[in-house]
Symmetry: C2
Subunit: 187 residues, 2 copies
């Protein structure tokens, strides 16, 4: 359903350039830009998934500044964008919390440059979300992308974004924006 | 025409929060994210418009690092993204250079939260670009947006991006991505 859509940005477990499983650092622009995109497309909750204690604290401090602190006072639009942004310890925690809130496990959506048996088009997913009553969770990887075990958990895998070239290296911030617009936008 | 599309990110003249005309600082993520989005949607040139000498030098140094330096060696995809990213002194310089290259002035496109007599839909603009042989220039403002005199120069003004909410405060990086996808994407 349109009002049970969640999005998580995963910092662990993801691949690095050499395809080793690593934990990446949180990027300030990922907190801001993706919170604002999620607010625009009415995402119920934006989870920043990172298990490292120092990273969690730093991220929570940034979010807190805009949620209730000086930042929120200075810029009300930003305060509104950060209202549903949360820090989570793990993907398992994100999924368990959604199940607790919604009473059922979320349908997991990822994206890939490859075609899988469970690949789905943007319009196909859009139709499904608008008619289904299940919660949906969009997963985005940082670094060199989500590890294979997470990809294997996906119920549906979105086609890669193409823009009339073969270049397929958008920032995660751009990819989130375009995917939310394609699936949920008024266009 | 599809192969004569330019994009400029304007740091001067733009409004600040109090609607004064100011020059904003260049943001590193605007250089990276928008270069990558422009490469994906086959934009002929991405101009970063900033008149301040120190800002121009810093921006040129960052671009140079990825265009030919250590960065380009380390990450070939990023090198490719930065190939057509340039620093320009003013909007007038951007327009004059396009006219020199293409033999005619570009059609200027901006976006606004308001509806104007020359407002255009995404599909309307998309159709126009694919059938027209003129060069097109997309202008994006930083800070609190392009000043009125620049808006008045626009041939067409795109409708605001809506995502089923009234919230309309995307980052410029997200707005660029979504607009390029709506007008030029394979969706």
């Amino acid at each position: 359903m349109r009002n049970k859509i969640y999005l998580a940005l995963v910092h662990y477990p993801v691949y690095n350039k050499r395809k080793e499983t690593v934990c990446t650092s949180v990027t300030n622009f990922d907190i801001h830009d993706i919170s604002r995109s999620c607010r625009t497309y009415d995402i119920k909750e934006y989870d920043i998934v990172v298990p490292v204690e120092a990273q969690k604290q730093l991220t929570q401090r940034i979010i807190g500044y805009w949620q209730g602190g000086t930042g929120g006072e200075y810029n009300k639009d930003r305060e509104s964008a950060f209202k549903h942004t949360k820090v989570k310890n793990s993907l398992e925690e994100t999924i368990a919390d959604i199940e607790k809130t919604e009473g059922q496990k979320p349908v997991i959506i990822t994206t890939s440059a490859h075609i899988y048996p469970n690949s789905i088009s943007y319009s196909g997913l859009s139709e499904k979300i608008f008619t289904d009553d299940k919660p949906y969770l969009f997963l985005f990887g940082t670094g060199w992308g989500l590890i294979q075990e997470v990809m294997d958990m996906s119920d549906y895998i979105l086609e890669p974004i193409r823009g009339n070239t073969k270049y397929n290296h958008l920032s995660v911030r751009s990819a989130v924006s375009i995917i939310l617009d394609r699936v949920l936008g008024e266009n």
